[in-house]
Amino acid sequence: MLSRETIRELSKIVGRRHCRTDPEDLICYGYDATDLRYNPEAVVFPADVQEIVGIVRLANEIPFYLIPRGAGSGMSGGSLPVRGGVVLGLSRMNRILSIDPENMVAVVEPGVVTGHLQDKLAEQGLFYPPDPASLAFCTIGGNVAECAGGARALKYGVTKDYVIGLEAVLASGELVKTGVQTAKGVVGYDLTKLLVGSEGTLAIITKVVLKLLPQPESRRTLMAVFNRLSEAVETVTKIIKAGLLPSALEFMDQRSIQCVEEYLQIGLPRDAGALLLIEVDGVREGVVRHAEEIRTLCLGQGARQVDVAANEEEAETLWQARRAVSPALFKLNPHKVSEDIAVPRSRIPDIVAKLEEIGERFRLIILCFGHAGDGNVHVNIMLNRNDADEVARTEQAVNEIFQATLALGGTLSGEHGIGITKIPYLGMEIDKLGLEAMRRIKKAFDPRGILNPGKIFLDSD
């Protein structure tokens, strides 16, 4: 429990308006996109790094738990105050500090909304590629903490590929700078990469240096419709093998298509077994040629229809469909267990077949869609949490899905992180020694265990 004295100290640091303990605020900062709830004891909204230093020092001294939070849009519970403590809301630190077109670098605060940054950059012909489906409201800070991915990972990589430097407050309250502002840099250990994806357990990120690219001159989106899911996923490997590197290569299975169509009514083929959404980008002539080559290839693989978006508006409608999948699935059942396994892309047909088999065996609605191009498959089990039997079957199914994934050389989470929802399975992928090494790192960074407790590891690991 936080003492009155501690609350008073926190108020002194951030100002009374920005230190909240009303029950309304505790409720509103106790959830994220997992729809799980844990109320914090207080919520503070620091204005700058100095205030964060003050807060962390206090947390280390008293001590109390600190849980950094961007937009609360995470899919694995990374920002949930599972053990109470103080939520550190970074929404006020939302300034784009600099955009440097000559060196292709941007420096931003953690609370900047990813989509807003991309819009600002686009005005100057610059490009920050990572595009999680939540980009219209998630923040760069959250993206960095969870190492968010997105559809463009296939060609452009994920958040960690663009973070070249950080400023962060350590658990001791000391301010560190990591990394560089240059294209290259090998001085010392790469602490930047260590902090990216550390889910707020090692330090509080206060500034992010991002590498940028020029905006591609042209983009083109295609939609290929297949009668069978297996045809679609086999086409994916063929496209990559042919040396065509799309900027995005997404798939949706039949039930995903039907859910989205019911929601958006944009004329997706309800009877299709699967569809591929493909985006190519680059110089105009190359884009036209590659789109045509992909179209021909899809038709050769048995696609019954391939549409090329005629303009940006049509393309946006198709991408809207893809982004709507995750939320639209709730039409099937009130709750979902959402996993984002990744396998080597050549094994996608194997994992998809396995998922179908598991779904049938456990009598569960399992849908899959996602980033076919990079092997990151979003597996969604739609269930009713009030049905104890269904919950038990889901747990067994998830276990088997993870086993199958690892057997195919895959990983438990491509881009959502472990948070709290995948904690029980961490040991399936990381062996004892690996876990021990991670624990020692955590201990070295945060000896008193004040930063985002209860995440990634089980206490008994």
Partner: protein
């Protein structure tokens, strides 16, 4: 009106994904979870479970919503946030926990139900100070009475006499009969819009019927949770128009048509199913009515060009989100070849009006409006047109406050070539 169990079901359908954050105008300004739909729904749910009282803060957060429904439109589960918030406001009212603006609103509005009198003290004070010409039963009373209390500096000029009182006859022209729902702004302030609307309909080949006994649409009452008053107004207005023998009810105000075609049928569903059906099928926004009833040739003959000018159109939330009307105004504008339509960068940005919201959350309303006006300034039109009387007042105020010097008017005026620059 949602029932208790429907509310619980509706609340359950929010998965807290956060996509409402991308569109909520109030969240955009404040960055606070309690301001956005998923936060408000979490609070209502906590209150339902008995974990949270209807505190002062709770009540304030419930008031801090424009009911624009941008979030409903965005939500993959189409959670009816607008209905849930309205339901909660009616709860607050029932339990005597409504805020001062809502209770002031409610007390002046109650007068409507029990014509002719019973004006609350605050209401009559404000009326004495300011708006002798606006009777207590008008939803507009709120905006101006509170203009005094909130030190609002911009107050639009009232018409010398209300539009409904100016009419020599209430039946104009010949052809299929259309009932004109004038609305409070169209009656007391922007009478020129009502005139342009009548002329448009007549040139379109319709007989325009304007029942003088029509009253406020009741949106302000409904939005503040005063279901009783909204129901009385729904009953009264529907009877008046049914009696007039019109085939359709048309209004130039997006807010009024939302109330007429969406809310009133809900309110009357049980008690007056015939009226409910009539309203939901036959009441329509002016622009949608014209484009659906008339062919391109007839439309072309109907409009008069205001000459060459650069114009931007502001989408009212009540048209775009509540009625799905955004193509029709653009289709009509395209009939005027001399007009260059310059689209605003964000076609979804709210003007900040939100009815009572602009009284209870005056500063926030101005902040939202400032964002809108900055977008307008960037595009730099000569004329800013819209299709809702609430937006019209708000945009006029914004134009004045930010010194943009634009002509802010209703689309009906543009289509009648009446744009005074």
């Amino acid at each position: 009106m949602l029932k208790q169990f429907e509310i619980s079901q509706e609340l359950e359908r929010c998965s807290r994904c956060g996509s409402c954050m991308a569109v909520c105008p109030v969240y955009r300004e404040t960055g606070e979870e309690g301001m956005v739909a998923r936060g408000k729904l979490s609070l209502i749910e906590a209150n339902q479970r008995g974990e949270l009282h209807q505190s002062r803060k709770f009540q304030e957060l419930m008031e801090a919503c424009l009911l624009c429904s941008g979030c409903v439109h965005q939500c993959a589960n189409s959670v009816r946030v607008d209905k849930i918030i309205q339901w909660q406001r009616s709860r607050l009212r029932r339990d005597g926990k409504a805020g001062w603006t809502a209770s002031l609103a409610a007390s002046t509005l109650e007068a409507v139900g029990k014509w002719p009198t019973l004006v609350s003290q605050a209401g009559s004070l404000a009326q004495a100070l300011f708006c002798k010409k606006i009777p207590a039963e008008s939803g507009l009373q709120l905006r101006f009475s509170l203009a005094v209390l909130s030190q609002r500096r911009y107050v639009p000029k009232l018409s010398a006499s209300p539009f409904l009182a100016q009419l020599p006859v209430n039946r104009l022209g010949s052809g299929p009969r259309v009932g004109l729902f004038v609305g409070c702004v169209g009656n007391y302030i922007a009478t020129e819009v009502s005139e342009a609307t009548v002329e448009l309909l007549r040139r379109g080949g319709f007989q325009v019927v304007i029942p003088a006994e029509q009253r406020c649409c009741g949106m302000a009452a409904w939005a503040s949770g005063d279901v009783a008053t909204a129901s009385i107004l729904a009953q009264h207005n529907s009877e008046v128009f049914l009696k007039s023998g019109c085939q359709w009810i048309v209004s130039a105000c997006g807010t009024c048509t939302t109330q007429l075609s969406v809310r009133m049928p809900e309110l009357l569903e049980q008690t007056a199913p015939n009226e409910a059906r009539f309203l939901s099928q036959k009441s329509m926004d002016l622009m949608a009515f014209l484009t659906r009833q008339l062919g391109p040739e007839k439309l072309g003959q109907m409009v008069k060009s205001p000459g060459s000018l650069k114009l931007s159109y502001h989408d009212p939330c009540h048209l775009r989100y509540h009625q799905g009307i955004f193509r029709e105004p653009r289709q009509l504008l395209s009939l005027l070849s001399e007009i260059h339509v310059a689209e605003l960068s964000d076609t979804q940005q709210c003007c900040g009006h939100g009815g009572l919201f602009n009284v209870s959350n005056y500063r926030l309303s101005n902040q939202i409006n400032a964002r809108r006006m900055a977008q307008v300034e960037k595009v730099g039109p000569e004329v800013l047109a819209t299709g809702c009387m609430g937006c019209l007042l708000q945009l006029q105020e914004g134009n004045w406050r930010h010194g943009l010097g634009l002509t802010v008017c209703h689309l009906a005026e543009v289509l009648m070539g009446r744009v005074a620059r």
